[in-house]
Amino acid sequence: MVFSSLVFLFAYLPITLLIYYIVPRKGRNLFLFFINLVFYGWGEPMLVFLMLFNVLFNYIGGWLVDKYRQDAKKKKLFLVLTCILDIGILAVFKYTGMITDTLNMLPFLNIPNLHISLPIGISFYTFQTMSYVIDVYRDDAPVSKSFINFGTYLALFPQLIAGPIVRYRDVADQMINRRETLAQFTKGVKIFCIGLGKKVLIANQMGIITKALFETTGVEPHGILGTWFGIAAYTFQIYFDFSGYSDMACGLGNMLGFEFLKNFNYPYISKSITEFWRRWHISLSTWFKEYVYIPLGGNRKGVKRQIINLLIVWGLTGLWHGAAYNFIFWGLFYGLLLILEKFVLKKFLDKLPSVLQHVYTLFIVLIGWTLFYFTDVNQLFAALSDMFNFSKGIISDNTLNLFLSNLPVLIVAGIASTPLGACVYNRFKHVKFMWVAETLFVAAVLFLSTASLVDQSYNPFLYFRF
């Protein structure tokens, strides 16, 4: 199930909220545990068993690590075993196809394609469970005494399928002691509506542009600006889709009494790639830093080792995003840029006027999303060549029309990518009648998003017998 669907908004969510607040506080985690599994198994119920298995062995893993905390060897053994099982499951479900395809390039091998479908959210919750056992191992978090509480944490529906990757230590206390308040609930509603609007009203519209430009065949070339426009639309799409989803997750968390850390912090206003990655998908970068980069030695073992560590982290970051080689290239592309910035470009960049720093960063980010979008290498090279080739015209008529008819949404997307709205809001939020504006905003987003979601289901079948 996804948040931006009618069945979630008008069936799952009201039922969940109603029962959650009727149930006495002691039973709320148990209810959440159950309703999380309904959410997770909605499209593929058999996955519930995978989830339960995951919860069970990580719970046991954490318990064993805690039990042998005096015995360094055994403690480490159980940590390693649990992590291997976690990564093993992820590898089987996510990377089998990629591994067999790669091996099949060897002329003497012909491994049949197993067609394993990817369980939703597995990349996210695998990282969450690993954070649990590692935190327990490092004494950064207490072991979870209750199976239900641990299961509720792992499968918590707000962040289950698209993040943020909530570290156990950040919510350990909230799992046991949380006091839902009306104020927190109201804050959750506002954040949820911001996220809903980002996803349904902006990202979906950008998706229509991207699809029209890059997924239809037999059309005349879009021209150099037309191609850049398509990539820009995708740049907006991925940000508003992903950050919208994170906002909805944080908002839903608030409605249930949780606080999650912020996952995006206006990444497109960055002045360097280093800054961009501090603002983009913060929970993932934090995870890699905490659980991979620093254990590898980070920057404490000399420059050479640091560079290798960075490349490992960024290769893995790329691979985490998808089981295809373009994602590894995409990750290494960023890894190399970050190394370059750290050791060479930084002094030079700092002296540039800030406009040029923004231009530099956005240019790299757009190229980055081009690498990310085209999983097919031929299409990727075709797109890259169109982006630097004047011979196919500036912009085709149809592409220009697409641009013009979406101009208002593009402008809104541009402004919403900056903290401008938040600044204005913070400036005026103590004004007496701010609640009027807030209420109108919530009402408008709900109305327009519902209209858009209903419209997606409206499929006239007119070429049957008219």
């Binding site: 009618l6 519209q205 037999g218 999650f260 919530v442 979601l453 079948f461 008219f466």
Partner: protein, 403 residues
């Protein structure tokens, strides 16, 4: 939004909220949200569940089967989502709201229909990646068959509405490329001895003179448009068309066509539909036969007034789409005309029947029982006509089976 470097102090964040807790209106956003989702949820429960959507012309999803197999495979979940959306409260209102919201956002044509001046709802130009060339090639191949090659053939295409009525289009619109397609088609056809009846100039000048040639809420031509095409077709063959004065023109209001139901612009005014009825045609001279599969039915009128009860009134002409329709008129002068057609032919058929003793209409979308060349051999028509709207020809994937 504040966040907590260390959330082990789970309790201290309650302090942040205490400031506003006294003012009730501060909670209004939450009230609106909760009120809205619960209202819609309860309304859904009591909303009558229809079987059929008349504006979408499709059966709606029914409550999914609750078998173990259905649930474990995930089919139940998917069908339930469709069921929930299909029976969502005030569904058409939401669709309309979305259509007008897109319009306000400056995105005219979001659902592939432009909202134009004077209440015209016009389909966007066909995609550049279309079937026109394949279909014209299929027509040429058909003409070159032994059974067909000695029968004269014409092709007539209705220009796209947006091409003819270009003055009503919104300022941002894609180009209607009839001026590119028509000459290409003419040259391919003329090389193969097929004459092309080019309606572009006829339609442009008739439209400029004030005739309404296309419906505002439907993709078809009006009866006036069909009559204009009919006179042009006759003159291309040196036939004298039936005069306008022989017809009694009947007007019927309240016609909401296909571009209306696709677009969701519910505030658009309906069209009038005209039936041009030649009262001198009676059961003595005129008959119509409709064949579907092996079943044939006889009628003594070309007009099916029962369809005027529906929103989409276009099937008033020859009862709409059928695989094989035959109209005979003993009072007409010319022999047999065989038309390979789409729905644009329905409103022109009564005019063609004024000139031809026998008009056979074959719709390739439904006619699967035999080859059209076999019909040609049996019926020995004097003239063949391929008649489509250019938009339909661009999307049609059945004409390639023409043999």
């Amino acid at each position: 939004m504040t966040h907590y470097a260390n959330s082990k102090g789970g309790r201290h964040y309650a302090a942040e909220y205490r400031d506003n807790e006294n003012s009730v209106p501060a909670y209004l956003p939450a009230l609106i949200f909760v009120g809205f989702i619960f209202t819609m949820a309860i309304w859904f429960l009591f909303n009558p569940k229809l079987d059929y959507s008349s504006s979408e012309k499709r059966n709606l999803q029914q409550f999914p089967e609750t078998s173990v197999n259905n649930i474990t495979s995930g089919k139940f979940g998917k069908e339930f989502e469709t069921y929930f959306a299909d029976h969502f409260p005030a569904r058409n209102m939401w669709v309309g709201a979305n259509a007008y919201a897109s319009l306000l956002e400056g995105n005219n044509g979001a659902k592939d229909v432009y909202n134009c001046k004077y209440g015209y709802l016009i389909n966007k130009p066909v995609s550049e990646d279309n079937e026109i060339k394949n279909n014209i090639d299929a027509i040429v191949d058909f003409k070159n068959l032994d059974a067909v090659k000695n029968t004269p053939m014409s092709v007539m295409l209705a220009p796209s509405t947006g091409y003819v009525c270009d003055d009503v289009l919104p300022s941002i619109h894609n180009e209607y490329k009839d001026d590119k397609y028509f000459p290409e088609i003419t040259s391919t056809l003329s090389q193969n001895g097929i004459s092309f009846v080019d309606l572009r100039d006829t339609f442009k000048s008739a439209y400029k003179a004030g005739s309404q040639l296309y419906y505002r809420t439907d993709h078809h031509w009006t009866t006036r448009g069909a009559y204009t095409a009919y006179t042009r077709f006759c003159s291309s063959l040196g036939i004298t068309p039936a005069k306008e004065s022989v017809f009694n023109i009947e007007h019927y209001g309240g016609f909401y066509g296909t571009t209306y139901s696709t677009s969701g612009f519910w505030l658009t005014q309906p069209d009038d539909i005209e039936v041009w009825n030649n009262k001198s045609n009676t059961a003595d001279n005129l008959h119509m036969k409709i064949t579907e599969g092996t079943e044939t039915k006889d009628y003594d009128s070309m007009f099916f007034y029962n369809h005027l009860e529906e929103d989409d009134k276009y099937p008033v002409f020859i009862d709409g789409n059928h695989a094989y329709t035959e109209i005979t008129n003993t009072k007409a002068e010319k022999g047999t005309l065989l038309v390979i057609k789409d729905s644009f032919s329905h409103s022109i058929a009564p005019f063609l029947a004024e000139s031809y003793k026998k008009v056979i209409l074959i719709d390739m979308r439904y006619f699967k029982t035999e080859n059209v060349s076999a019909v040609v051999q049996r019926e020995k028509p004097d003239q063949l006509l391929v008649l489509y709207g250019i938009d339909n020809l661009a999307n049609d994937t059945d004409l390639v089976w023409l043999q």
